[in-house]
Symmetry: C2
Subunit: 237 residues, 2 copies
């Protein structure tokens, strides 16, 4: 319950939304980065983000930034966490509301063409339970690419939350097209967890959980034994 507002004690702060836009590409979890064109951290890579307009909800800001910065009309947007350490931006006090923006790799097709300011960076994911270090975005040389501001912390938080939500929410399906094979679903789980999974056990668990159902259709292309396509049931949580 905010009390009487004394602007001298509590000057207004800037509020931004940053997107942790992730997909699974080539079997790895990957994040969309934007190269900064202006100080601070000029030329460094960062999560795409922007200031929240004065008459704009947080969700609306996330949608606008998705379109303006990443050129995308749709992703699974979900608020992740707010970061507000006083020193996180050298310009001024900025509180940022981080959002997941998840989408299947197919949905990114073409959006990165000719956009030299954007890059889809694969992630180095430590093994679950490993104390070895945080999640890191990898540069073209496959070495960790330090991100601007506290964006490495935000990225680390996002991957851990995604991993935590795998078992009790259908969030993984946001990384898949509407119809997918069980192999593709396993790829997504393995990419998020950073480990290989036993195929029969994984399939049994997914079918037991009853969030998905077979479509009766099979994948197209030249597969010798084309796999069945599944979809999320409408009543999944």
């Amino acid at each position: 319950m905010p009390g009487a507002y004394n602007p001298a004690d509590f000057p207004p702060l800037a509020v931004t939304v940053d997107l942790v836009l992730m997909t699974v590409a080539d079997g790895r979890l990957a994040v969309l980065l934007q190269r900064r064109s202006a100080p601070p951290h000029k030329d460094d890579w960062a999560l795409p983000g922007g200031f929240v307009g004065v008459a704009e909800s947080l969700d609306a800001a996330a949608e606008r930034i998705l379109t303006e910065k990443a050129g995308l009309l749709y992703a699974w947007l979900e608020q992740l966490y707010s970061f507000g350490d006083p020193g996180r931006d050298p310009r001024m006090r900025i509180v940022t509301i981080a959002y997941f923006a998840l989408l299947p790799h197919e949905a990114l097709a073409g959006t990165l063409d000719g956009r030299h300011d954007l890059a889809l960076a694969p992630l180095d994911i430590p093994w679950p339970g490993e104390q070895g270090g945080p999640v890191a975005a990898l540069g073209p040389d496959r070495r960790p690419l330090p991100l601007a501001f506290d964006h490495d912390d935000i990225l680390d938080h996002a991957v851990k939350r995604l991993r935590g939500k795998l078992d009790y929410s259908p969030i993984a399906f946001a990384l898949l097209p509407p119809r997918f094979t069980l192999r593709a679903l396993q790829d997504v789980h393995e990419a998020i967890l950073g480990i290989g999974l036993n195929k029969p056990a994984f399939r049994r668990r997914m079918l037991d959980r009853a969030w998905i159902e077979g479509t009766g259709e099979r994948e197209e292309g030249g597969a010798f034994r084309p796999a069945e396509l599944y979809r999320v049931k409408p009543e999944a949580p």
Copy 2:
């Protein structure tokens, strides 16, 4: 990634932290409310909250507000969600970061004495899966007490998140003292879920999950068969 900052496009916003301070009292989940002493919503009840200082982290603001507004030195603080609809406060654009502040009822002892501006309101919790309506704080007449601003929404969000976290996180233990009986643990679960649970099945599930261990001690007082006291294992998630 915030771009060049144009104050005309994006005037700074006010940022507050609001606490959803909850405990279990008399077998019911209850929330701490504060009566507003100034407009807007003067004399209405609201979640305790305050503006974030310019050099203060969000977590530090939550701790300060816990002490200043509720007179408490400690609670389980955990960021819940950020609420930022443009019309949520009639004074100005305010984005609020809501925090859980959870504590055992014993820890509130004495803090409400003589504080006519504070009240611990029991919650009316709809049955899980019931479409019947949101969570509501109850007034002294046991009827729903509409809260100021969007605080009913924040409260509803908090209870649903708490319910969702029961099964995969040890958050329920924040509502219990360090040593507790299995009956008290069941009371907390029943209060959050809004349903009665089968005692043998509940105990088996709690002991199978292996987050708690017996202390070998028994509760004090006049019980004919004093129950064993349990504690959370150090390695619980």
